[in-house]
């Protein structure tokens, strides 16, 4: 966390700078099947974040050394477009995107029925077109909808959501300023049907009580986002299209 400390993030009336209540999420919209070239795809807007995910496969696993005899491997690439942030990002992988790709892949492997596709590979490409805090969560949500859109069997989808702490107050869904100047960030991936957690990261400073409250907010938000995810898939398939 930035930890500048002296930046005011809560207003006199207890609301946040953008007018949200402390347990209020930014608006989320989801569209499934947005990329014609992909086997499955989704676009998620979460506040000002824009994440697009494409799924290719299951396909033959290349190179051969990555093959697993009893299951599919999930190959995730999380990438921020050069124009997605205030200062331009040089194209190509960096340490941050490699780490996010790795833990996202491992989360998705926990829900996809990978044992159905031995020796194969499922490619998940997450592209961040606009970044305003919370891109890894928007990416996980987009990847889940894209996998479902591709018809890949899963135990459940994963909802990406985060809570954090600003001015010693636990809040749901940090925006850019809150992420930069806040005290903690707790992004998680939740299986909405079971409440299990497939993705977990955290940085900053949280007491156990604060952690529990942040998780409570996350579970509540996951249910809301899950409805939007299901609605996006219904809109894509109920019309009899594809």
């Amino acid at each position: 966390m930035g930890g500048y400390g002296d930046v005011k993030l809560l207003r006199e009336d207890g609301k946040r700078l953008d007018g949200r209540a402390i347990d209020e999420m930014r608006p989320v919209t989801i569209e499934a099947g947005v990329l014609p070239a992909a086997d499955g795809s989704a676009m998620v807007t979460h506040g000002l974040n824009v994440a697009v995910a494409a799924v290719y496969g299951p396909m033959e696993a290349h190179p051969r050394k990555i093959q697993r005899q009893d299951r599919a491997v999930i190959d995730v690439r999380y990438n921020m477009a050069p124009f997605s942030t205030g200062d331009r990002i040089r194209p190509g992988f960096n340490r941050r995107s490699r780490e996010i790709s790795k833990v996202t892949a491992e989360s998705l492997e926990s829900v996809v029925l990978v044992e159905r596709y031995p020796r194969s590979k499922i490619r998940v490409e997450i592209e961040i077109l606009a970044a305003e805090a919370g891109t890894r969560c928007a990416g996980i949500t987009a990847a889940s909808v894209a996998l479902a859109d591709a018809g890949i069997p899963m135990r459940d989808m994963i909802v990406g959501v985060a809570s954090g702490k600003i001015e010693d107050t636990v809040v749901l869904d940090l925006d850019k300023a809150e992420d930069n100047y806040g005290q903690a960030d707790l992004p998680v991936g939740i299986l909405p049907n079971t409440g299990e957690i497939a993705f977990l990261q955290m940085d900053g400073d949280l007491s156990v009580e604060e952690y529990n409250l942040a998780m409570e907010y996350n579970h509540k938000a996951a249910k809301e986002i899950h409805e939007v995810m299901v609605d996006a898939l219904k809109r894509r398939y109920e019309g009899g299209e594809a």
Binding site: V34, L35, P36, A37, A38, D39, L48, V50, V52, A54, Y56, G57, M59, R77, N79, A81, P82, F83, S84, T85, G86, D87, R88, P91, G92, R123, E125, E127, L129, A130, A131, E132
Partner: protein, 261 residues
């Protein structure tokens, strides 16, 4: 499979061409549906989204302040790059920029640069010390064929709607970037033995050489590129150049309409 499918496609494209047909029913110089959206990305200083048939491309413009090249102390710079990331098609692999993505970025770059639509002198802030570097990044999200024309359109539309973020860098007030012209690209592909405009994926896979023509507002040529194996006659080029003039002015009108909004 990689060898077999193009050869079957090639036979099919030849058969269709002999009947004067095209794989999707278009006339050989007809375009697919093109949709352009501008100012669509929050953090880019200029942005555009092009949906061109099954091809989807975003372009974003960013600015940076840099020290000028010693031999051009009062000139800023422009750079256009493209990424063919694995999101766009199953055929694209992760890794360093491929020759194809470098070619795409450079052909679009030349069309914009050589049209002179950006006055590099206007990008100077303090001669010898501070100039603007303008970067256009082309991000291909779905490759359904003819990414060149879609990338060119997205790039110029993003550039023409860009706002110079001078306040953020503390060098004056934000202002729209001055762009004097709208260079537009038209691409042709030999499929079934003759040239077609706006090739779709199957025509790219089962065809031969491609030709990219970028024309300025006055119909002048600013960038040409021939790619892939094949040869063409001067007569063939004269024919597609005449088609390019008409196609480019139609797309130029589309950009002007979007700017007006």
């Amino acid at each position: 499979m990689v060898e077999l499918v193009p050869s079957l496609l090639r036979q099919e494209l030849n058969r269709l061409a002999a009947e004067g047909q095209r794989i999707d029913g278009r006339g050989h110089f007809d375009v697919r549906d093109v949709h352009l959206e501008v100012d669509c990305l929050y953090n880019a200083e200029g942005s555009a989204k092009v949906v061109w048939g099954d091809t989807i491309i975003y372009a974003g413009v960013k600015f940076e302040i840099r020290t000028p090249w010693p031999d051009r102390p009062a000139q800023g710079s422009l750079m256009c790059g493209a990424e063919l990331r694995p999101v766009a098609h199953r055929k694209y692999e992760p890794g360093p920029p491929s020759p194809e993505s470098i070619e795409l970025g450079r052909v679009v770059d030349r069309g914009i640069r050589e049209s002179g639509c950006i006055d590099m002198g206007e990008l100077c802030i303090v001669p010898g010390e501070k100039v603007w570097g303008v970067m256009i990044d082309i991000h291909v999200l779905s490759d359904g064929g003819n990414i060149f024309d879609a990338a060119g359109l997205a790039a110029i539309a993003a550039l023409r709607t860009a706002v110079v973020p001078a306040e953020r860098f503390d060098v004056g007030e934000d202002h729209t970037l001055k762009v004097n012209g709208t260079p537009i690209m038209a691409s042709f592909k030999r499929a079934g033995g003759r040239f077609v405009y706006d090739p779709r994926e199957e025509e790219e896979l089962g065809g031969d050489e491609r030709i990219h023509i970028t024309l300025g507002d006055e119909g002048h040529l600013h960038s040409l590129q021939k790619g892939l194996k094949g040869v063409f006659t001067p007569e063939e080029f004269a024919e597609i150049l005449a088609v390019a003039e008409q196609k480019c002015s139609e797309l130029r009108k589309m950009v002007a309409e979007k700017e007006g909004n």
